[in-house]
């Protein structure tokens, strides 16, 4: 159900065999493979759950593979059988977290009818979810996205897709209601807003013993919605 998608191709046989091997053999192999595949998936989930638990426990994505292995009572051997490396694990969790968050936000937003109100709710919730360690479950650990943005930008983008889509939908509705600035396209507005919110929440989260910062969700919302210039 959860933890799906992007490592799928790993277990898929190469398409080429489809035309080289008779269909019956295909099916036979597939049938005998299915069980194994299920077993594999179970193990996979155990790794993912363990990792998730560790992350929420110590509020950081700096865990060691060994920790995950121990926690899930499996072996390194097995870990690398299922994941290309630590980064795949992280990407899986990241993707999952973003997808869930998208659902959660969507749910929260349906309470409002006015497109802009929906966006406001969405933005504020996204802001909360994006800040590090609100002691809450499943912080978005947007913190580790940057490191992967350099090495796996494509995957990160894929992970972002659900949120982008959600925000785009909302922006489209806002546009239809004439609430969107005419010079900006919904998808662009969505992307810009999301990035702004996520990053600001992130960089803002660490405690400020000092004078200033703690930018609030409201401020962030106002900034995205109205900019800083006087109309």
């Amino acid at each position: 159900m959860q933890y799906l998608s992007h490592m799928a191709q790993k277990t898929e046989p190469p398409v080429s065999t489809a035309s080289e091997e008779p269909a019956w053999k295909q099916r036979a192999v597939e049938r005998s493979t299915k069980a194994a595949k299920l077993r594999a998936e179970k193990r996979l989930v155990r790794f993912l759950d363990a990792a998730q638990a560790i992350i929420t426990e110590k509020g950081t994505t700096d865990f060691t593979v060994q920790e995950v292995v121990d926690r899930s009572s499996q072996s390194l051997r097995s870990f690398y059988q299922h994941f290309g490396g630590k980064h795949e694990l992280l990407l899986a969790l990241f993707e999952d977290a973003l997808a869930r968050s998208a659902d959660q936000i969507r749910a929260a937003a349906t309470g409002r009818s006015d497109p802009l109100s929906q966006l406001k709710v969405a933005v504020q919730l996204l802001f909360e979810l994006s800040r590090p360690d609100p002691a809450a479950q499943r912080p978005l650990f947007t913190d580790f996205a940057p490191r992967l943005l350099l090495t796996h930008s494509v995957e990160v983008k894929i992970a972002h897709a659900p949120l982008i889509e959600l925000f785009t939908e909302m922006m489209v509705r806002a546009e239809a209601a004439g609430q969107l600035r005419p010079t900006i396209k919904p998808r662009r507005a969505a992307a810009l807003t999301m990035q702004t919110i996520m990053f600001i929440a992130q960089s803002n989260g660490v405690s400020d013993d000092e004078t200033v910062n703690p930018i609030s969700a409201d401020e962030a919302w106002e900034f995205c919605a109205m900019g800083f210039a006087h109309p």
Copy 2:
């Protein structure tokens, strides 16, 4: 001249001795220390230059301490004599880069008289400077800031100070000219704008073989200035 500031206290004797030791001794020690201090600074600079060279060469902040040591023809021993660790080196370079960028941006902005125009120029230049590897010299390597934001948020904030200050000045002028939305304080507007621009430029930099993104400096500017809502 350059590469100054935040590791200064390292070589400063503890203030306490000032009251415990006679002043003449202080001065004597200081005099005899001065030369050594200069020598030390030379080495320091060699490390920093070497690191900077490596970074601009391979366009990433993922170098090893060994590389820096070799490149500067010095020794590990010496490196750790001068720096508390790799992170101090990075912070030094980061701080320096941000300070220079602030100067550069300030210079570019003085060409305009209208506060908003100045801001626009500033924002667009900041955007360019913040994107990874424009093959240009000294990209802001804003990429590594995130990793340090967690472990050394205070230092990162210090490094950001010059830019924040610059943008705040400009926002203040804009406010005076009635070009700033009344509900937003200059310093906040500055912080929000900076973060937005830097992060968007950053995450946007990596090549998009696909359909969409490449958010432009203009788009980013418009977003910050006017938000997305229809007035």
